[in-house]
Symmetry: C2
Subunit: 253 residues, 2 copies
């Protein structure tokens, strides 16, 4: 499994991805799932992938090496995309291409699990900073002001904190903190999501990464974040008023 | 779907269950999932059920009306159980009995979903306060000091707060607050879990409910809890230090 989250706020975009892949609990590995294609002031495309690793790697390879576009008759690569929307379409076409080549035999081998989802965030010069989620069918949705985050993989554990704390107005590095808490909630509860964590911060209109970082096991800030957060939650629930419901201490019948 | 949680702390036991049942998003109903069998100072058994409603209701009916125990050759009801362990065994037998009668045709109709899980909490005079989770196979596990809570149904959204905040030392009504927050996290994220919420507090060795209550839509405390909690989380993440990772504000290449 995997957990990746993208949070789009007014000042920019945060993307966070774990690195654990597993084929059973006794066969886990570390693979980067957050990939960056950039040329400062021209374009920056960040892709986070969840699902079958073979499919994800094939999709990424097609996007970087180029593949045939039946609409134009030409071969094209991701970095040639003239807009984020065109880039999302290209990711979708790459997924469909992998499905065309490998999907049928995969389905025969694995009883119908052609499984990949991609978060695509970034900005192209002259365009807006955008965040998309591309499905395994190749179609996609975009994060909006109403729902400023998108998740792929094991998304349930990390969703409540996002629902409660993230709005479009959230400050960029607060969004990063909330994303890290969401990731930590998931790591604590699900063995198939694990450190190291890759993260990326794109400030709106900079068209270059402001922060790229890998958090590994020994990283003190993330360790402290976990402790601080647990302590803050304890304080928070202690400060809530006690339920006023009538107690039946004298009940008898 | 359903969400029910039982939290066992030093001073007692909290059980919370939602009431929403659904057959598709366009066919939802309210059914009580938290059921109480009690005779003060003799026994108190609380059952929360998740899964197929027909199965749950059949299991409850067997337990209250009595069913044949092949080991003893006699008919028995839940309230005759001489200990919590025997009560858990009886719940397991009731599930197996429903499976024997209805399971095969259900499997034929619904492609293999004989689906029920039960939280059983309570105390019998002379015994300990205990909390069990009974699986659809009829076997069961018990909450312990290492993991003082058990969940059934849609458990993922509400798990992080339990993992971070609940220990055996948690005060009884703090456990209730945390359980309500866990329920609220689930309700916010999953349409198939909904108000009203039934709750129960059993103080250790009292052998009678200290609190039974139904929270409905208009209930002010639960409404305030949601608001307070979201505000507390916002404060908590604002108070965390900003990630110290080096920013590439001057990057160029």
């Amino acid at each position: 499994m995997t957990y990746c989250v993208g949070i789009m706020v007014h000042d920019g975009l945060v993307m966070i991805a774990d690195t654990r892949t597993n084929a059973g609990v006794d066969n886990i590995s570390v693979f980067r799932k957050l990939h960056l294609f950039q040329k400062p002031e021209e374009y920056v495309f960040a892709l986070a992938t969840a699902g079958n690793l073979a499919v994800s790697q094939s999709v990424l390879t097609l996007l970087s090496e180029g593949f045939h576009n039946p609409d134009t008759g030409e071969s094209e690569t991701l970095v040639e995309a003239q807009s984020m929307f065109k880039a999302a379409q290209m990711v979708g076409r790459a997924i469909r291409e992998v499905h065309r080549v490998d999907g049928i035999s995969q389905e025969m081998a694995q009883s119908g699990t052609f499984d990949v989802t991609v978060l695509l965030g970034g900005q192209v010069r002259g365009g807006r900073l955008r965040l998309f989620m591309v499905y395994s069918a190749g179609n996609f949705i975009e994060a909006t002001a109403d729902t400023p985050y998108l998740q792929i993989g094991e998304h349930k554990y990390g969703k409540p904190i996002l629902d409660r704390a993230v709005t479009e107005e959230t400050e960029l590095y607060d969004a990063l903190k909330i994303g890290l808490i969401s990731m930590d909630s998931t790591i604590r509860s699900n063995l198939s999501v694990g450190l190291p964590i890759d993260l990326l911060v794109l400030r709106r209109d900079a068209i270059r990464p402001e922060l790229t970082y890998r958090i590994d096991e020994a990283e003190p800030y993330f360790h402290d974040l976990r402790e601080h957060w647990s302590a803050a939650l304890r304080e928070a629930h202690l400060s809530l008023p006690t339920p006023p419901y009538p107690r039946e201490t004298d009940a008898s019948d």
